[in-house]
Subunit: 250 residues, 4 copies
C-alpha cells in the first residue's frame, strides 16, 4: 500500500487560501480550535488522509466503524483569502510519520497556491492559567507585527524547547521546501486535560487574523464547564494546600 493514501472528495477553486493546521496535541488545543472553525463555518471536505503512520485503529461511533484519519476542509469566504483547515484523529505516531504526513499535506495543497500557513497548538505551562495568552512564532519576521496587533504575543526565548510535532514541521517545511511563510499560534494551557479555554483564546485571535465571524457560544459553554470543574479542584486544592502547603493549582 501507499504509506499515505488520499481520498479526494472535491477539488474546489480557491482564492489565495490561508492554510490552518490543527491536529491533536498538548491540551488538544489545536484540534479543538480547528474543529470549531470547521463546524461553525460549515466547511466542506476536500480529502481524507489515511496512513500507516497513524495508529492501526478504528473508532466506533453508533456501532459504525471509523478508520482513523486526518482531513482537509475548505471555506470560500468571498474575500481575498479562502480558508483550508486540517484536522484529524491523530498526528503521525513516529518521527518518520510526522515528517511524511506534514510534507504530504503541503504537497497535496500545492495546487491551491496557499498564501500563508498558520498552525495551532498548546503551550504547556504546567499549571492552570486564568487568562491564557496566545504565543506566536513565525517563519517570516514580517508576520510578527501584524499578528502582534491582533493579540498574538511574541515573548523572548519562549517556548524554550522549540515545537515538537506537526505544528512546527508544517511551518518549517512550509518555508524551507515550499517557500510559504507562516506562523504558529500556541495557546497557554496546563497540559493536563483537553483545554477549551486555551482553544477559546486562539479562536478569538485567529478569527481576527482570518477576518471571520465566529459564534463563541458553544466554546463559551465548554469553557464555563471546565472553569466550574477547575474552580472546584482549586478550592479542594486550596483546602488541602492550607494544610499541606501545596501550590499545584497556583
Amino acid at each position: 500500500m501507499e504509506k499515505i493514501m488520499i481520498k479526494n472528495y472535491e477539488e474546489p477553486e480557491l482564492n489565495s487560501p490561508i492554510f490552518i493546521g490543527g491536529l491533536p496535541g498538548i491540551g488538544n488545543v489545536g484540534k479543538i480550535t480547528a474543529d470549531y472553525f470547521i463546524d461553525n463555518l460549515k466547511m466542506k471536505k476536500i480529502a481524507d488522509i489515511y496512513s500507516e503512520f497513524l495508529p492501526p485503529q478504528v473508532f466506533i461511533y453508533n456501532n459504525v466503524i471509523h478508520l482513523v484519519r486526518e482531513s482537509l476542509y475548505y471555506k470560500k469566504t468571498g474575500k481575498k483569502h479562502d480558508l483550508i483547515f486540517l484536522t484529524g484523529d491523530f498526528q503521525g505516531t513516529t518521527q518518520e510519520g510526522q515528517y511524511e504526513l506534514s510534507y504530504s499535506t503541503l504537497e497535496l495543497l500545492k495546487k491551491y497556491e496557499v498564501s500563508t500557513i498558520y498552525t495551532l497548538g498548546g503551550y504547556s505551562v504546567g499549571k492552570i492559567v486564568d487568562n491564557p495568552r496566545v504565543l506566536g512564532a513565525v517563519t517570516d519576521k514580517k508576520l510578527i507585527k501584524p499578528l502582534a496587533s491582533k493579540g498574538v504575543v511574541f515573548p523572548e526565548g519562549e517556548p524554550a524547547g522549540g515545537i515538537v510535532g506537526s505544528a512546527g514541521l508544517i511551518l518549517g517545511m512550509g518555508t524551507e521546501m515550499f517557500s510559504i511563510p507562516g506562523a504558529c499560534f500556541m495557546g497557554e494551557t496546563s497540559g493536563y486535560f483537553a483545554d477549551p479555554k486555551s482553544a477559546r483564546a486562539i479562536i478569538t485571535v485567529l478569527s481576527k487574523v482570518l477576518k471571520t465571524r465566529i459564534n463563541l457560544k458553544d466554546i463559551d459553554e465548554k469553557t464555563k464547564q471546565l472553569e466550574e470543574i477547575t474552580e472546584k479542584m482549586r478550592q479542594e486544592a486550596k483546602n488541602k494546600s492550607s494544610k499541606d502547603d501545596l501550590g499545584y493549582f497556583g
Copy 2:
C-alpha cells in the same frame, strides 16, 4: 526482499465469497474461531503469506521447522456465497505491519470479488464471563438489523476505545479503499487466557450468519475443560475472597 511474500497454492473459482478474518489477538478468540471453521469444514489453502512484519521466528512441530505466516483458506459451499478464511501465527507486530498486511490481504482477494467481510476478535471485559455475548460493529448500517437477528449484540458506546489491530483495519480499509461492507464480531472474554468459550459464542452466531453447519463437539470439549479450570479458580478465589474480600472473579 518483498516486505510481504505470497506463496499461492490454488486460485479457485469462487461464488461471491464472504471473507472472514480471524487472527491471534485478545483471548485468541478470532484465531480459535477461524481455525475451527477451517478444520471443521475441511477448507483448502489458497495462499501462505510470509512477511518481515511478522516476528523473525520459526516454530518447530515434530522436529520440522515452520516459518511463521498467515494463511488463506477457501470453502465452496454450493450456495450463494463461498467462504474465504484468514488465519495466522501472528498479526503484524508494528503499526506499519498491521496496515500493510491488512491491505495486502484485501488486495490479494480483489480477484475473488468478496461480497462481505467479517472479522473476529475478543472483547476484553476484565473478568470471567459465564455467557459471553457477541458484540458487533459494522461499516454499513444496513448490516446491523440482519446480524442482530442472528444474535449479534449492538450496544451503545461499546467498545469505547474502538478496535486496535487487524480486525478493525481490515474492515476500515475494506470499506474506505475497497468499498466492501462488513462487520466485526467480538466475543466477550476475560482476556486473561485463550478463551474457547468466547470463541464458541462466535462460532454459534457466525455459523448462523454464514448458514453453515458446524459440529460443536470439539469446541464444547475445550470449553468444558476451561470451565472446570475456571470453576476451580473461582472456588479458590471465593475461599480466599471470603477471607480477603477480593472480587476478582466476580
Copy 3:
C-alpha cells in the same frame, strides 16, 4: 544508500556447496563454531555484507577502525560438496533487518546452487551443562535420520518456543522461498556467557556431517579454561548453597 551493501572479494567456482550460517546469538555458540571452521580450514572471503540493519557502530582493533559487518567465506574441499560459511559481528537488530539480511544472503548465494543449509546456534537451558547435546530441527524430514546417525539429537517438543533470529529464518526462507533443505544445530548452553564447550559439541558433530577434519586443540583449550572458571563458580555456589540452599548451578 542500499539497505544492504555487498562488497565482493571473489566469486569462486564451487561444487554443490553446503552453506553453514553461524552468527552471534545465545552463548555465541553459532559464531564461535563458524569462526573456528573458517580459521581452521583457512577459508577465503567471498564477500562482506554491510547494512543499516546492523548497529551504527565501528570496532577498533589496534587503532584501526572496522565497520561492523557479516562475511561469507568458502572452502574448496575437493569432495562432493564445497563449503560456504557465514559469520558476522551482529545479527540484524530489528525484525525487518533479520528478514532482509537472511533473505539477501540466500539470494547472494543463489548462483552457487547451495545443496543444503545448516545453521548453528545455542539452546539456552538456564544452567551449566556438563555434556551439552546438539539438538536438531530440519526443514526436510529426510534429513533427520542421517543427522541423527552423526550424533544430532531430535527430542520431542524441543525447543518449545521455536527458534528466533537468523538460524531459524535462513532455514525457513531457505525451504519456502529457495527450495533448499536444511537443518539447525543447537548446542545446549547455559546462555549466561560465550560458551566454547557448547560450540565444541557442535564442531564435533558438524565436522562429521561435513566430513572435514578439524583440529580441536584450540577449542579444547578454551573449553578447559571455561571449565576451570565454572568449576570455581560451582564450588563457590556450592559453599554458598550449603548455607543458603541456592541451586543455581545445579
Copy 4:
C-alpha cells in the same frame, strides 16, 4: 518526501578538500569544535540537510522558527587542501538514520573529491579530566604516525567499545565504500555536560593537523567558566567526600 532532502546554497570549486565531521554527541565535543572552526574561519554554507531521520522538531530563535538540520560549510585555504565542515542540530536518531545520513553526506561530497576525512567526538571517561587527551583511531595505518606527531594519542585497546554513531560510520563507510582514508579525534570528557575544555584540546590538535590558525580566545573563556564551575563542584564534593568518602570527582 525524500527521506533526506538537500538544500544547496553554493557549489564551490575546492582544492582536494579535507572533510571534518562534528555532530552533537558525547560532551557535545564534536559539534563545539566544528562550530568553532566554522565561526572562526568565517566559513560559507554549501548545503542544509533536512531529514525524517532527525527529530520532528523546530527550534525558535528570536521568535523565528528553525527547522532542525545538518549543514555543510567550506573554507578556501589557498593551500594544498581546502576544508569542508559538517555540523548539525542532531545526529540521526535511529540506526537506519545514522547510516543513511552518513552515507548521503559522503555521496553529496563525492564531487569535491575529498582527500581525507576527520571526524570529531568525545570519549567519555566518567570523571572530570584536568588535561584531556585527544585519542585517535584511523582507517589507514599510514595516518597514525603523522597524527601522533601533532599530539593525537593512540593507546592500545582504547576505546574498548568502538565508536557508536556518525563519527565512526562516516569513517567506516568512507573507507569501505568511498575509499577515502581518515581518522577520528576523540577528546576525553567526563560525558556529564557540554565540555568546551575537551573541545579545546581537539581544536588545538586539529588546527595543527589542518595547518590553520585558530584564535583560542573564545574557547578559552568558555573553558575558564567551566573550570570555575567544576572547581566549585570539586570543592563541594571534597567537603562532602571528607565526610562521606565519595570519590566521584576524583
